[in-house]
């Protein structure tokens, strides 16, 4: 298992953003769904080692991120796209991707080829030498994805990766996700249930800091059948039904 979380909790003051999450994930694409404030971003930030948990156990790629040496090893093998991508406006796309390749401790000789490959994979080859400040939102998102995959990560964490991408780019991106899922654990946090249906083998639904559903997209669809839950597509109805069921249990 590349991700093993046991009773993982993160508090911000009195607010429990993540409240005792248990999760195991091996290679494949794993979708993380949930409404705003469900705790998806906090969970992803903890798995990216950017945010320490308040309590609980976390093992990533078979290592303990709480210790310096293993944490550094995890980070070398990690790709992370945050929800809000900070960038250096004066950098070109190639310089931006190269910067993070170097910070990931990639061997310098491998960096130029890896940068070129990552930029091509996200379809930004024609803008590789363009300054980031000249790019559209969708292109910036793709530059962010390129930096996340530049080191061929074994654990790829993507927070709202398809935000700002047009339909054609989304289709290409899902193909890229499926390709990465063959050899790595890809965890995608998204609001877009169609992304989950198209690319993910497993899905977890979060609400109030907890995982309230964990299964396959087909199982989530089954939750919605005959439930009368709101939604235009089967997966949306499954999402609504699972969420409603979890909330009624919590309220009881």
């Amino acid at each position: 298992m590349n991700v093993e979380l046991t009773e993982l909790t993160r508090k911000f003051g009195r607010v429990r953003a993540v409240a005792g999450v248990n999760l195991e994930a091996g290679p494949g694409v794993f979708g993380l769904l949930g409404p705003n404030g469900a705790g998806k971003t906090s969970l992803l930030r903890m798995m990216a080692t950017a945010l320490p948990p308040t309590s609980g156990t976390m093992r990533l790629l078979g290592r303990d991120p709480g210790a310096y040496g293993p944490r550094r090893e995890i980070r070398r093998r990690l790709g992370y796209l945050p929800q809000t991508l900070g960038y250096y406006p004066g950098f070109t796309v190639a310089e931006f991707v190269e910067y993070f390749a170097l910070l990931k401790d990639m061997p310098p000789r491998q960096v130029p080829r890896a940068v070129a490959a990552a930029i091509e994979q996200v379809g930004l080859g024609d803008r590789a030498r363009a300054k980031l400040r000249t790019l559209s939102g969708g292109m910036l998102r793709r530059a962010g994805i390129a930096q996340a995959i530049v080191n061929e990560p074994e654990l790829l964490l993507l927070d709202e990766p398809t935000a700002g991408l047009d339909p054609e780019q989304r289709v290409a991106f899902r193909a890229l996700l499926r390709d990465f899922g063959q050899r790595a654990t890809v965890i995608v946090s998204t609001h877009l249930v169609e992304d989950v249906g198209a690319a993910c083998a497993e899905v977890a639904l979060m609400d109030g800091g907890r995982i309230v559903f964990h299964g396959t997209p087909a199982e989530l669809i089954a939750r919605g059948e005959g439930s009368g839950a709101a939604g235009d597509a089967p997966l949306e109805r499954g999402y609504s039904a699972a969420l409603a069921a979890a909330r009624s249990v919590a309220a009881a």
Binding site: A50, R71, R75, Y80, T84, L85, G86, Y99, L103, V111
Partner: protein, 241 residues
């Protein structure tokens, strides 16, 4: 017409069939997009034994050319005032200027990709340390040149380096704890101003703050405390398992 056709002018039999065009293109792109590090970055890479750290160092906001020029202009103005008034303005300005540079060296308030940097193998704490030391070193060098150019007495020329250490450490600690470079600048400048005014109140000379060697030990102790605060603020707690 396919890309193979474009390569062979439509004469498929004339071209090699085992050419992997994607691979060829990647080789071309690699060469075309490759960035050549400048001499400073190459030297830093050798010194730090980490190309990533060297790259992080040369992107320090307060080491960019515009900032360095602004620092030099302030110190040149200080030289002018010192020569004109006979008061050691350089010694009083240099610590405040250095504190501003340190506060703007690294952190969530100034580094746009801070969130990403937190998940990188090259630790953000090491980046912070290296950048802060580089900014301090550059400011110390510029300040010493300006101080020497202003014809200050030797005690004044070197005396401000110790309080500068304390002021910079205060600015760094405030910027790190509050995650705001502006708060760091404000804390450093205010701390330095209070020290100058306290020195003047004690014996009527505002240069006491840089000439009284009995203050050096308290300055260094204060700087050490501030560094401890920085280390505490940037540590990732153990016990995630």
């Amino acid at each position: 017409m396919s890309s193979d056709d474009l390569l062979t002018g439509g004469h498929r039999d004339a071209g090699p069939h085992d050419v992997d065009l994607d691979r060829v293109w990647l080789g071309v792109a690699e060469q075309v997009w490759r960035r050549r590090p400048g001499p400073v970055e190459r030297a830093a890479g050798r010194l730090l034994r980490s190309p990533g750290l060297a790259r992080a160092l040369v992107t320090t906001p307060s080491l960019l050319l515009g900032w360095v020029i602004a620092t030099a202009v302030v110190l040149i103005a200080g030289v002018g005032f010192t020569l004109g008034t006979g008061q050691p303005w350089v010694a009083l300005l240099a610590p405040a200027v250095a504190a501003a540079g340190i506060a703007y060296a690294y952190g969530p308030g100034i580094d746009p990709a801070w969130e990403l940097s937190l998940s990188m193998a090259v630790s953000d704490r090491i980046v912070l340390l290296v950048r802060a030391l580089a900014v301090f070193g550059l400011n110390a060098a510029l300040g010493l040149v300006a101080s020497a150019a202003s014809g200050a007495a030797a005690a004044v020329t070197f005396g401000w380096l110790v309080p500068m250490t304390a002021v910079c450490a205060l600015a760094l600690a405030a910027a790190t704890v509050t995650r705001s470079p502006n708060v760091g600048v404000a804390a450093g400048s205010a701390g330095w101003l209070i020290a100058i005014l306290a020195g003047q109140a004690a014996d009527g000379r505002f240069t006491t703050v840089v000439t009284d060697s009995s203050l050096f030990l308290p300055y260094l102790a204060f700087a050490a405390c501030c560094c401890a605060v920085v280390l505490a603020a940037t540590r990732i707690p153990r016990g995630t398992r």
